[in-house]
């Protein structure tokens, strides 16, 4: 059963709440050292199961969480992205992680833009942030393409308390203004 929530569509992607069939590709993503490096490190299937369940549970409890990203042309699960605010999080995040096969195609920017639109329209957020490791240059480039700027250094709560992050982001008016022009 898929967690309750909306399905969004972009040119090339479907964004939908997580579902049990995401487990295997999610495990593959979290077994890849380079992909997992900036999102807590390699995780075993039993830990991935908990991550997937907590994403599904956040949808049930709060009506939002990260979407699973599915490639329209292939039906493949590519990763997860979207709004995410665990307890004690430093702000209203829209985050993203895609598996390696999905890199370099502009998918993160395309999906995150749809998720930011949805978050500003439906969650009453006035700001969106992205917590990014300073060494994660590809993610910083996505943030820049989304129109976000570096805001401040940040700290995350456990289990990420040792991670070093920079907080990128933008205000709702900046996002809306730019979308209106585009």
């Amino acid at each position: 059963m898929q967690a309750p929530g909306p399905t969004l569509e972009t040119d090339r992607l479907i964004l939908r709440p997580p579902a049990p069939e995401d487990f295997e590709p999610w495990c593959e993503m979290m077994a890849d050292e380079e992909t997992a490096r900036f999102i807590g490190g390699v995780a075993s299937p039993s830990m991935v199961w908990r991550q997937l369940c907590s994403m599904a549970g956040a949808w049930t409890m709060f009506g939002y969480a990260m979407f699973s990203v599915v490639e329209k042309s292939s039906g493949r699960w590519l990763g997860r992205l979207g709004p995410w605010t665990p307890a004690d999080w430093p702000g209203t995040e829209v985050g993203w992680s895609l598996s390696r096969a999905a890199w370099g195609k502009g998918y993160a920017t395309e999906g995150a833009a749809a998720a930011i639109d949805w978050a500003f329209d439906n969650l009453g957020w006035t700001e969106v942030i992205h917590c990014i490791d300073p060494e994660n240059l590809p993610s910083a480039a996505v943030a820049r393409r989304l129109g976000s700027a570096y805001l401040r250094p940040g700290k995350l709560p456990p289990p990420y308390e040792t991670a070093q992050v920079q907080i990128w982001g933008q205000r709702r008016e900046q996002w809306k203004g730019r979308r209106a022009v585009a």
């Binding site: 075993s44 199961w49 908990r50 907590s54 994403m55 307890a87 456990p158």
Partner: protein, 180 residues
Amino acid sequence: MRRRPTLETERLILRPPCERDFTAFAAMMGDAEHVKFIGGRQPPSLAWRSLASMVGSWAMRGYGMFAVLEKDTGRWVGQTGPWKPHDWPGNEIGWALAPGAAGKGYAVEAASAAMDWAFDHLGWTEVIHCINPHNTASIRVAERLGSVRLGRVQCPAPYDKVESIAWGQTRDAWQGRKAA
């Protein structure tokens, strides 16, 4: 099909967990002494993830542990029920009571109702309870439920370094005892 069952016992209500349970759940998981046998203290940010994953198990599989509420007061007094993370060594019926709710027979009362429900709705033919060998209070609950010691088991991460003994029983044993 989305199941949102509510069970009722003499003194307790069991229902799927929700966001209103967070404060009480986080208080329980923040009490280091109280949770030393079930993985240890969790700060609120980790308790949030634990509660969310329990709710997510309901969303994706149609079952998970139930939140246990005291009928008289409406207070959240713990959780119990079916729980089977990936690679878990069996069909768990687990329980954890809030500090202050122990010693009243609530764990046995609630776990019995959850076990009835699990055997009736999940097609399970056997249940286990993974218990730390030093957790005498939980061992007593397992014994009162009629479960027997099955032996040492290896639980997957994040419990891979925790010593666990499985207790358990078959559906036939459970339902036979209830019928008698």
